[in-house]
Structures are given as structure tokens and as C-alpha cells.
Symmetry: C2
Subunit: 211 residues, 2 copies
């Protein structure tokens, strides 16, 4: 085995992520992270200059992961349909599917950092913002395309697009408060249904989707 600390580094980040999503990073001590990762102090500070550096790296990795997810999801729905509205609807369905067999207590590190202002330095915030806008921009573009052929009911399509992520961030919180993880998938589907209604309010075709 080549001498490679990147495995240990990933181990530390994974442990920290899990604890941060559960209890917040501020409430998570380095010792707890090390206990979970079965490592010791020296290892931690070999890989990270400080806890703050870990925090930055944690969100960087999270955003990167989200970016990969975005690219993959977009590629899939764009290959499944040529109709822009259908692509967005498919995306909702895809997301719902994903959260059906999700981790036991899903959450978003960006949301966690939002309520831990200390960690959310300007650089991290901007990275999160850019990543969020990526989704919203794509959805907005698709909806505006769709609006050219089908006349949707009056609504601010930018806000409707941003609502996609609003739904997930909000659903994570309700899922935790209700202790009902499946609320996330259900909300994604409800958003899809409302989107569809928005675009068929003018001229509804009689072919309703099956439940």
C-alpha cells in the first residue's frame, strides 16, 4: 500500500461532517471527531492547521459533491426528455427517489452553517451561493423556455425556480422536527405537482398523470 494520508484525511472529514450535521460543528469537539474516526490528536493537526481550516474544507467538499450531483442529474433528465418542463418535473421525481433511500437523518451543511454564523466566512458563503444559483438558474431557464409554448398561470418564475432548493432546506428541518424522514421526498413530489398545475392552469390536457 502506498503511503497515502488522503484516506485518513477523508476519514476525518467524513466523521466531522456527520457530527456537524447532527450537532453543529461548534458543539463538536476535535476529540469527538477523533473518537469517531479512531484517530488521535496529532493526526488531526497534521492534516488540518486548525478547526477553522477543517470547517472551510468541509463546506468546500460539500459544495463540490453537490456540484457533481447537479451535473449528473441534469444530464440524466435532459437525456430522458426533450421538453424543458418535463425535464424539471423529472428532476423533482429523481430527487424524491433519492431521498426515499436516504441516510437516516439527512441535512444540509450549508443550512447548518447558516445558523452557525461564526463558521460561515465570506469565501464559504460565496461558494454556497454560487452552487445554489446553479440549480436555480438551470430551472429558471427551463421554466422560461416552457413558458413560451405553454402559458403558465401568473407567477414569478425566478422565485418558483428558487423554491426548488427552498423546499429541500425546509423539508430537512421539518423532517427532523417531525421525525419523519419521508417528508423530504413527499415535498419534492408536491412541488412537482404544483409546478405542473402552474403550467397547465391555462390549458389543462385531460391526460392527468397517474396519482
Amino acid at each position: 500500500m502506498p503511503k497515502d494520508g488522503s484516506k485518513t484525511r477523508t476519514l476525518l472529514l467524513d466523521a466531522a461532517l456527520e457530527l456537524a450535521l447532527e450537532n453543529g460543528l461548534a458543539a463538536t469537539s476535535i476529540d469527538e471527531i477523533l473518537e469517531k474516526a479512531k484517530l488521535t490528536k496529532g493526526t488531526f493537526f497534521y492534516h488540518f492547521k486548525s478547526k477553522d481550516e477543517l470547517a472551510v474544507e468541509l463546506v468546500r467538499r460539500f459544495v463540490e459533491h453537490d456540484h457533481a450531483l447537479f451535473k449528473e442529474a441534469v444530464a440524466r433528465v435532459e437525456s430522458l426528455s426533450r421538453d424543458p418542463l418535463q425535464q424539471v418535473l423529472l428532476l423533482c421525481g429523481l430527487a424524491a427517489e433519492m431521498f426515499k433511500e436516504a441516510p437516516e437523518n439527512p441535512g444540509c451543511l450549508m443550512a447548518s452553517y447558516c445558523y452557525e454564523g461564526q463558521l460561515f466566512n465570506e469565501e464559504s458563503r460565496k461558494a454556497c451561493e454560487a452552487q445554489l444559483r446553479l440549480w436555480a438558474d438551470w430551472i429558471e431557464g427551463k421554466l422560461k423556455s416552457a413558458a413560451k409554448t405553454r402559458k403558465p398561470a401568473p407567477a414569478d418564475l425566478r422565485q418558483v425556480a428558487e423554491m426548488f432548493q427552498v423546499i429541500f432546506e425546509g423539508a430537512f428541518i421539518l423532517a427532523r422536527t417531525y421525525k419523519e424522514p419521508d417528508i423530504i421526498a413527499k415535498q419534492a413530489l408536491a412541488y412537482r405537482d404544483m409546478l405542473e398545475a402552474l403550467f397547465s392552469a391555462g390549458q389543462r390536457t385531460p391526460l392527468d398523470r397517474q396519482k
Copy 2:
């Protein structure tokens, strides 16, 4: 002037709330709370047995406040219209108005606690859950009433009702990430528009609301 410690107690809670919403309660030391409230250690522990007791009281007060808001809002919209759908739409407008002149960085203590698992003991969680369900139950009832006369497009009305709070929790997070506080009001209005579309998907009357 009668000697009344409740003013000091409230001062402590107010300072703690503000700091908790900004940085999380775990990351907020008692000393910081005291600095903000211009009080001292002894006073804090005269009013609260521990920091945990403060945490419990903080969320209790938050839920209580939300409950009052709920009762007032429901009374207002029920007096403004007799139509159940209109009442819900009015509620969205009311909420949007409220967040137009909101505090600089609005947030929800329940959301904060969700990502600070340590604080969210079972009693507090249940209180939050009950309060959230109050809103969702009311909206669901109204939507189901409305569904009897107007046939809405197919959607799970329970989820659509729960989406009301999902939107706010999510919008708080986006508002912070984007540094755009007005996203909250805008999301409330977008939700309203989508709700309206949902219920006019079948038989849209030509009287569209003005933008």
C-alpha cells in the same frame, strides 16, 4: 418601583435569542450573552439553573410567540374572507407583508435547534412539532374544504399544506446564503401563486389577479 426580576430575565432571553439565531447557542458563551445584556455571571445563574435550562426556556418562549402569531393571523384572514381558499391565499400575503419589514437577519430557533441536536431534547422537539402541526392542520382543513367546490389539480393536499412552513424554513436559509432578506416575502408570494394555480388548473376563470 416594585422590585421585578422578570425584566432582567427577559433581557437575558432576548440577548440569548439573538445570538443563538446568529451563531447557534452552542457557539454562544454565557459571557457573550451577559456582555450583550450588560449583566454579570451571578445574575444569569440566579435566573437559570444552567445553560440547558435557558435553552429550554428559549424555545418555549419562541413556540409561545409563534402560537400567538398563528391565532392572530387566522383570526384576521377568517374575518377578511369567508372562502377557505381565499383565506389561505390571504395568509400568504399577510406573511409576505410581515417579512418585508422584518428584522435584518430573520431566522427560526426551531431550525437552529434542528442542527444543534444536543439542545433539541424530546420535550422541546414535541412542543415545536405541535406548533408546526397547528399551522399545517389549519391550512390542510381549508384546502380540503376548498377542494369540495373547486376541483384542484391532483396533489397531496397535506403536503401542500405542510409546504407553507417548509417554504419559510427554507427561505430563511436562502436569504442568509444569498444575503437577500426579501427572498422570504417573495417565496411566500410564489407559494401563494402556485396554490392559486393548483386550484384553478381545472376551471380557470378569466379574471386573473393583477400581477
